[in-house]
Amino acid sequence: MQSRVEHLSTTATSGPLQRSKIKDMSAEVVDSNPYSRLMALQRMGIVNNYERIREFSVAIVGIGGVGSVASEMLTRCGIGRLLLYDYDTVELANMNRLFFRPEQAGMTKTDAAVQTLSDINPDVVLESYTLNITTVQGFETFISSLRSKSFCPSKEGCGVDLVLSCVDNYEARMVVNQACNELNQTWMESGVSEDAVSGHIQLLIPGETACFACAPPLVVASGIDERTLKREGVCAASLPTTMGIVAGLLVQNTLKYLLKFGHVSPYLGYNALKDYFPTMEMKPNPQCSNSVCLERQKEYALAKPARDAAAKAKMEAEAPSEIECLHEDNEWNISVVDDTDLQGPDVGKSSGALPEGLVHELPSADEFQKTPGSEESANLVDDLEDLKRQLEAINAD
């Protein structure tokens, strides 16, 4: 008993013992190497070059139940740089989720995250942005921080490799969508339903896949009557399990995308009540309400010949290995069919039938015809300052 108490008190007083930075990731299997199990992915042939992870910058928007866990996963994986965005502070009400600790209550979520993450892995470059990206000012800082190439000046495009949206509301997702469309930046969206029993992740490549404004957001249907779930008086429920699972799916897709292994999911849903995982792909909407999305779609269409040529060259390079696969007898007449053409021309698949288990969260905007009479106001006051004074006059009454 006494020795137990002594042991506990020494662990308590030993305090934060931070390891020093490591210059190169080693594959050496020793207890003291934090990267040995990750570098083993390379030895096992899953990943070609794991160490490349140190070159990548990932921006995480929203450091809540999903974003904080995603940031910890990427930190433990040895990601090069993380940019963290949130305007909120840690509260005791957040303790039903992972990552934050009670003694961090009152700190901003970004600062609390940097505190924990830099202890876990001092090799990761961490940037914390405490701001609301939906305001005009916050958006400008958001965009310029994504553009900044201070970490890797030779990088093409903007300064980050991927943006992860881990926010909890439609407005903020639309803002991330706007920024990524403008920067032509690939991003992944994640979400957990307000009833905490479903979630999803989605890959968005401007011009190539549907943007977040191309169609009303897709959510996983809970499979039971929606009205019984939306209990009056409660705005949102949350579970550490669902959030942890969605963070895991999101970071898994991130690792596959960055390190180029396996299949990167364009959309993956999670229904916790039925343990059902719907998947789908979404083409961009040629009538998307976001004008920057339309520009990106045009660029993507223009680059099609170059893309086709590259794909053909790749096919030819891989062709010899395919021939080896041919079998001498083919008793069942099995043949490999190229399924890329079966989907037909690039017709917008975004509208129309959805796979089972997925529903739209919001309706589309109604078609709106301008009536000729709508110009009638021309003869009325049409000066902004006059209108301001007019409203003030009414307000003063």
Binding site: T134, A213, V234, C235, A365, F368, S377, Q390, I394
Partner: protein
């Protein structure tokens, strides 16, 4: 619009609709949109006064018209309960609605997000999405804030979460 009371419906039809789809980053188009916002707000406020149903004051708090502040009030059992009202025009406006905030009620009701943003998900967001870009600030107040106050204030008063200002001051004096 099923499930809405006839008064709200008839009020709504009298608020001028907007046509310019522009947000605060759209330069001249935003100025055009701002004019439409003012016209709708002027019409709605005048209408409320004429119908003896005056219930808010709102005006731009910066020259760009991206931040708005004011007051709103609700009469319950013949007593007037007044609150500060504020919101920002988001960069993705009007694709997304402004998030209306009543900072004094922050933490007093579950139908609210952090910072006093009222919960509009069920009753208002689908309507806004369907009517983009025709709805503006005036519509958000009419269809978002007014029904929220009507549903929440009586509950908050009856449960003692908020007190009338006369009541509050007398209890401090006594």
């Amino acid at each position: 619009m099923e499930g809405w009371d006839p008064t709200t419906k008839s009020t709504l039809t009298q608020i001028p609709l907007l046509s310019v789809k522009a947000g605060p980053r759209d330069g001249a188009a935003w100025t055009q949109r701002s004019k439409e916002e003012y016209k709708a707000l002027i019409a709605y406020t005048s209408m409320n006064k004429a119908n003896d149903n005056d219930w808010f004051r709102i005006s731009a708090a910066n020259p760009e018209g991206t931040r708005w502040t004011g007051k709103c009030w609700y009469i319950h059992n013949l007593l007037k309960y007044e609150f500060d009202l504020q919101f920002d025009i988001p960069v993705t406006y009007p694709a997304t609605a402004p998030e209306l905030e009543l900072p004094q009620l922050d933490g007093k009701t579950q139908k609210m997000y952090r910072g006093g943003k009222i919960c509009l998900t069920v009753h208002f967001k689908p309507l806004w999405a369907k009517n983009c870009p025709r709805f503006g600030i005036a519509h958000a107040l009419c269809l978002g804030l007014a029904p929220w106050l009507a549903a929440e204030i009586p509950v908050l008063v009856d449960s003692g979460m908020i007190k009338h200002k006369d009541d509050a001051s007398s209890s401090i004096e006594s």
